[in-house]
């Protein structure tokens, strides 16, 4: 069954500062969509609006989970996660004093995910053998790359239909960035997910994205219907490639 996400005409901000203006985007079932833009353009705020962490002042956000549509604005973060939307936040937000295994078990807190705990755990350990080796270690004592893997795996333990990832590459060495991006693709296929990924590393994100949006100063500046369209866009050249 198909799961998709639609953001329509969303305005949002913090106090007097307006961060998003009339933002619309859609992620169709089974797609990987990249939300591109440099720091401070509103990528994270949009992610937080979808997850109910920041409340938009206008617009609508609709998620269709396995054929049923839900309006997300007004729902609490935990209710949104419970629908089947998982979020890997910026900074990963692991539980540093809990072990790797305990972090993964907490990922399966959602009632629907509890029955599938063992199966999803096996899958995560298969995809990330490193996590299996370190399952007793405290999450806070692992390296940045390992923490990013754990954050991804923990989000998948909730058996989501839609996965949102905020800046998976931040703070990682170049080699780890491309490895993380590859893993996202692998997990997306393994779990049959719909993915929205915010990323400032254009070249890496575009490797696995079906489509993409470029966000500049809180507005969608360009909508690329394919990876090539994004690659050949003047705006991208201006913002990323400095040409």
């Amino acid at each position: 069954m198909a799961s998709s996400l639609t953001v329509a005409n969303v305005d949002a901000g913090y106090a007097a500062v307006r961060v998003l203006e009339d933002v619309s985007l859609r992620v169709d079932a089974g797609e990987t969509v990249a939300l591109l833009g440099t720091n401070g353009n509103g990528k994270s705020t949009l992610m937080k609006c979808i997850m109910g962490i920041v409340r938009p002042s206008a617009g609508s956000i609709t998620a269709t989970i396995d054929g049923t549509a839900h309006e997300l604005i007004g729902l609490s973060t935990e209710a949104i996660v419970d629908l089947g939307i998982a979020f890997v936040p910026e900074g990963r937000r692991l539980f540093p004093k809990q072990s790797v295994l305990e972090n993964l078990q907490l990922g399966a807190y959602r009632p629907k995910a509890r029955a599938e705990l063992q199966r999803n755990l096996d899958f995560c350990f298969e995809t990330f053998p490193r996590l299996k080796e370190r399952k007793g270690q405290l999450a806070g004592s692992m390296s940045g790359g390992e923490q990013q893997m754990l954050a991804l795996a923990r989000a998948l333990m909730s058996a989501p239909r839609i996965l949102l990832i905020d800046e998976p590459s931040v703070g990682l060495a170049p080699l780890l960035v491309s490895r993380t991006i590859d893993k996202i693709k692998e997990l997306k296929e393994g779990f049959d997910l719909t993915v929205l990924m915010a990323e400032q590393n254009f070249t890496q994100a575009i490797r696995i994205a079906d489509r993409g949006y470029v966000i500049v100063h809180g507005r969608i500046a360009f909508e690329g219907e394919s990876a090539e369209a994004l690659n050949n866009n003047d705006l991208i050249r201006e913002f990323y490639l400095g040409a």
Binding site: S76, T77, E78, V81, A86, P89, Q98, Q105, L106, R110
Partner: protein, 283 residues
Amino acid sequence: MNAILSGLLLGGFYAAVSIGVAISFGMLDIVNIAHPAFILLGSYAAFIGNTVFGIDPILAAIIAMPLFYLLGMLVYQVYYVAFERRDDQSLRGLSFFFGLLFITEVTLVMIFGVDYRLVQASYIGDKLTLGPLELPFRLLVPFLVSMITVVGLQLFLSRSFLGRAIQAVAQDQLALRLMAANPIRIKRIAFGLSIATAALGGAVLIIIQPVEPSIGREYIGRVFAICVLGGLGSFSGMVIAAVTLGVVETLTATLFGPSWSPAVSFGVLLITLAVRPNGILGR
């Protein structure tokens, strides 16, 4: 030899009165200094059950536990609305619990007076003799009750989804929301459990010694010392610390006189923290 043994049993009793604080202070970051007052409330619940209805004090405590659980949830809700939500819990929250301690104490004085109260049970006064070892039931029963509670709670916290969420709630509330759990609900349940253990703690206290309303104050320092010594968030560390303190206090009392034992136990705390700043089993 018998001093070590009774110290061991005394340690078990200390663990019983510290479990609640190990949850509220160790896992939820709530400095509930009123916990000894709830323990005394538990003692008087056991006292009423014993004198009015003629039932065993432990049984009376078990019957009172659901009420204590609800009381704990209520206290947390007030604390949350008045302090935690406004993000100024540290000092004002402390005065809230300090006030709660005095209100409970004064209420108990007004109802029961300042006389020492005690309970009757068939096993109090008897002892189990194993060769040269003497195990008074007055200490053995609290020890067993305490160990059963600790093991039961430990299993609940490490094996159930709710228990794991309780262990994680103080570390990152937003992250817990992203696991589809409501952190306020989790904390309310955990605080309810913490106060429910005070019913049992109170029953074992009144089995060990007669109580009067202000006796709880004697335990504030000791209970928090045990939790810090063991390592916050670790039940097994808390039990080791409680038993260590029990043995050290009993030995000091036997060898140098009872007035030295608080000094020695806090000495143990200072030395341990100098060597292991996170406590014996702290993470």
